[in-house]
C-alpha cells in the first residue's frame, strides 16, 4: 500500500526537468531552482483541483487519489520523455 506514495513524487519529477526558458535578468541560473518553484505550484494546483473533484464525487479515498496521480503521470510522462530524448 505504501508504494503508492511514489505516484506524486513521479509526477513532480516528470514535470521538473522541463528546460526552463532562459531570459535576462536571471540568465542561466534561472534553471533548476526556478523550475522547482514553478513545478511546486503546478503540482500543488493539480492536487487541489483533483482533490476537490474527488470530494465532490465522494471518492476522496486511496483509490481515487492513486488514479488521479496516475493520470498526472500519463499527462506529464510522454512530454517529459520527449524532452529527455530530444
Amino acid at each position: 500500500m505504501q508504494h503508492a506514495i511514489i505516484l506524486p513524487l513521479l509526477v513532480f519529477i516528470l514535470v521538473l526537468p522541463r528546460p526552463a526558458r532562459v531570459a535576462e535578468p536571471l540568465g542561466p541560473s534561472r534553471s533548476l531552482r526556478v523550475v522547482f518553484l514553478e513545478t511546486s505550484a503546478f503540482v500543488g494546483g493539480y492536487l487541489m483541483i483533483f482533490s476537490e473533484g474527488l470530494g465532490l464525487l465522494k471518492q476522496l479515498g486511496q483509490g481515487g487519489a492513486a488514479i488521479c496521480w496516475g493520470i498526472g503521470i500519463l499527462i506529464t510522462g510522454p512530454s517529459a520523455c520527449r524532452k529527455a530524448c530530444s
Binding site: 526537468p17 526552463a20 535578468p25 518553484l37 511546486s40 500543488g44 464525487l57 476522496l60 496521480w69
Partner: protein, 539 residues
C-alpha cells in the same frame, strides 16, 4: 536524461564554500526530516483541528461539512491539510503528516535563494539569505509539525518572486501561471495569506500597467482571477453554505480582523507583534514588558488589555525570532552604505513590500499571545535582502552564514515537545540537564504515544483508558461528546480510525452545525470529555 543535464549544466560549478554550506544545510534539514518522520503530530493546534479535519475527510471521502465541536475545522483554509490527506491516503497512515511543512521549508529556502539572485546577490549573498531563513527559530520548530505557516511562507515567497521578476521583464506564460497558482494556493492555505498577498499583488499590477497596454493587463487579470477561483471556489462555496460568508462566521471574522480598528489600534498591534518576538525565559520579565506595553498603549488600543508574553523559546506556538528581528533593520540600514554597489531601486522597492507585509498583518489580523507564528512568512520573505546587505560586509558574509547555521542548532535539537536531545533531570540516554527550560523525553527513545501527548501529558492516561475500552469491545460507531477546545485527533490516533473500521462522529456539535449530524448514526459508545473532569468512555 538530457533535460536534466541541460538543467544542471546551466548552473555554476560548485565552489568549496558551496559544498561546505550545502553539507551543513543538508545536515540540519536531515535532522529535521528525522524528527518529522519519527514524531506523530503533537502540536496543540494540529491535535485540535489540522489533523482532526484530515481524519474526517478520510472517513467521509469528501470535503463536505460535518458536525464538529470546533468550527475552525470547517472554515479554515484547506490546502496544507489536503496535501496531508493525500500523503496519508497513499501511505496508509499519518507518518508523513509532518513532511508537508518540512517540504515547504525546503521550498522556501530555494525560493529565497532565487529572489536573492534576482535582487543581485552573488552566491555568497544567496547563502546568507538561505542561512537567514533556515535559522529562523519558528521555521525550524514548525518544520516538524503539520501546521501551515511554512506552507503559507512558501507560497508567499513564490508570489513575491514572480512579482519582483515582473518588475524586470514581462513574465512568460508559465511564469504568469506560477504567479496565479502561488496566489490561489496561498489563499487556499491560510487566512493570513490574504493580507500578505496584497503588497506583492499590487506591486505586480502596477508593474504591468507601466509596462503593458490595459487590454493585456486585463487579460492577465482575468487569467489570474480564473485560476484563483478554480482553486478556491469549492471551499468558499462550502463556507458560504455553512456559515453564510466566504470567509467563515461573520462574528469570528470580525473579532479576529478589523474589530474596532483605529490608527491607535494598528500601532498597538504593530508594537505587540514586534514584542511577540522578544519574549524572555523569565516570566517576571515578560510580565514587566507586558505591563509597560499596556501602560503605554492602553489609552489608544483597548485590545492590548488581553496582551500576554509567554516564555517558550523552543515551542512552536510562542517562540520568537529575536536575532532575526534585529538583523532585518540592521541589514536595511546597511543598504545606504552600499547603494552604489547594488540594484538600489529594486531592493528599496522590495523593502517597501516587506514593510507593507508587516503593516498589513497588523492592520488585518488581531494577533493574540500565540500568534507570533503568523509573522513567519514575513521573516522568510525578508531573508533575500538580508543576504544582499550582509554580503556587502567585507569578509563577513561567510562568517555570518556559518554563525546563522550554527545558531539554529538549539532549535533543531531541543524542540520542547519533539527533542532529539532532551533536557530533563534524569539519566536516560540522549538527555542533558535542564539548561534552558525542560523538554519532553527524546523522540529517539520515547514511544510514539508519549510523543503524541508531549504537550498535554496529563491527558494520556484518560484518553488511553477511554479508547482501550472501545478497542476491546466490538463497537464500531463511536460518538464524540467533546468541548470546542478539546483535542480531537488523539482519539482518532488511539483508535487507529478510520482505517481500523471504527467510525467517529461528533454528537455535541457547535451551534448551527447540528444539521450535519448523520440521521442514521447510532453510536454504541460515546467518548466524552465534558461529562466529568477527564475524558471517559460510556458504552
Amino acid at each position: 536524461m538530457k533535460a536534466w543535464q541541460v538543467l544542471r549544466g546551466r548552473g555554476h560549478k560548485p565552489e568549496k564554500r558551496d559544498l561546505i554550506f550545502g553539507a551543513a544545510l543538508a545536515f540540519i534539514l536531515g535532522l529535521l526530516l528525522a524528527i518529522a518522520w519519527l514524531s506523530p503530530p503533537n502540536n496543540t493546534d494540529s491535535l485540535q483541528y489540522h489533523m482532526s479535519r484530515v481524519m474526517h475527510w478520510a472517513q467521509d471521502h469528501s470535503f463536505s461539512a460535518y458536525d464538529t465541536a470546533y468550527p475552525p475545522q470547517l472554515f479554515e483554509p484547506i490546502w496544507a491539510e489536503t496535501a496531508i490527506l493525500n500523503l496519508r491516503l497513499l501511505w496508509g497512515n499519518d507518518q508523513l503528516s509532518n513532511l508537508v511543512e518540512w517540504g515547504s521549508l525546503l521550498g522556501s529556502l530555494v525560493g529565497v535563494s532565487v529572489i536573492a539572485k534576482l535582487l543581485g546577490a552573488s552566491r555568497k549573498g544567496q547563502w546568507v539569505a538561505i542561512a537567514f531563513a533556515a535559522s529562523l527559530p519558528m521555521a525550524i520548530l514548525q518544520s516538524t509539525s503539520p501546521q501551515n505557516n511554512l506552507v503559507t511562507a512558501f507560497w508567499l515567497v513564490g508570489l513575491v518572486y514572480f512579482a519582483v521578476l515582473s518588475a524586470q521583464r514581462n513574465l512568460f506564460f508559465e511564469e504568469l501561471l506560477g504567479l496565479a497558482l502561488t496566489l490561489g494556493l496561498g489563499l487556499a492555505t491560510k487566512a493570513t495569506f490574504y493580507p500578505f498577498a496584497v503588497p506583492p499583488l499590487l506591486y505586480f499590477v502596477v508593474q504591468q500597467f507601466i509596462r503593458n497596454k490595459p487590454y493585456r493587463v486585463t487579460g492577465q487579470g482575468l487569467l489570474i482571477a480564473g485560476i484563483v477561483l478554480a482553486l478556491n471556489l469549492g471551499f468558499w462555496v462550502r463556507k458560504l453554505i455553512t456559515f453564510g460568508g466566504p470567509l467563515g462566521p461573520a462574528d469570528s471574522v470580525e473579532t479576529s480582523t478589523f474589530s474596532g480598528l483605529t490608527p491607535g489600534v494598528i500601532a498597538g498591534r504593530l508594537v505587540g507583534n514586534i514584542f511577540l518576538n522578544l519574549d524572555t525565559p523569565k516570566d517576571s520579565l515578560n510580565a514587566q514588558i507586558t505591563s509597560w506595553l499596556k501602560k503605554v498603549f492602553l489609552p489608544i488600543d483597548p485590545h492590548i488589555w488581553n496582551y500576554r508574553l509567554v516564555s517558550g523559546w523552543n515551542y512552536e506556538d510562542v517562540a520568537g525570532n529575536p536575532l532575526h528581528l534585529f538583523l532585518i533593520p540592521i541589514s536595511w540600514l546597511l543598504l545606504f552604505n552600499n547603494r552604489k554597489q547594488i540594484l538600489w531601486k529594486l531592493i528599496v522597492q522590495y523593502c517597501l513590500i516587506m514593510i507593507s507585509l508587516y503593516l498589513m498583518l497588523a492592520i488585518v489580523v488581531n494577533s493574540s499571545v500565540s500568534d507570533g507564528r503568523y509573522q513567519l512568512p514575513f521573516f522568510i520573505a525578508s531573508a533575500p535582502v538580508s543576504g544582499i546587505d550582509i554580503e556587502a560586509l567585507p569578509k563577513k558574509a561567510l562568517s555570518v552564514t556559518a554563525l546563522l547555521l550554527i545558531a539554529s542548532l538549539p532549535w533543531v535539537l531541543f524542540n520542547r515537545t519533539r527533542p532529539l536531545i532532551a533536557m530533563r533531570p534524569s539519566n536516560t540516554p540522549f538527555t542533558i540537564p535542564c539548561l534552558a527550560d525542560c523538554t519532553a523525553q527524546s523522540i529517539l527513545i520515547e514511544p510514539p504515544v508519549r510523543i503524541l501527548f508531549a504537550s498535554v501529558i496529563d491527558l494520556q492516561g484518560p484518553y488511553t483508558l477511554a479508547t482501550t475500552a472501545i478497542r476491546e469491545s466490538s463497537c464500531r460507531s463511536v460518538g464524540l461528546q467533546i468541548d470546542s477546545h478539546d483535542l480531537e485527533y488523539p482519539f482518532w490516533w488511539l483508535l487507529d480510525a478510520p482505517q481500523s473500521g471504527i467510525h467517529l462522529e461528533t454528537i455535541y456539535p457547535a451551534e448551527g452545525l447540528a444539521r450535519y449530524l448523520g440521521p442514521n448514526f447510532k453510536p454504541c459508545a460515546i467518548l466524552c470529555s465534558i461529562c466529568r473532569e477527564k475524558p471517559v468512555c460510556t458504552v
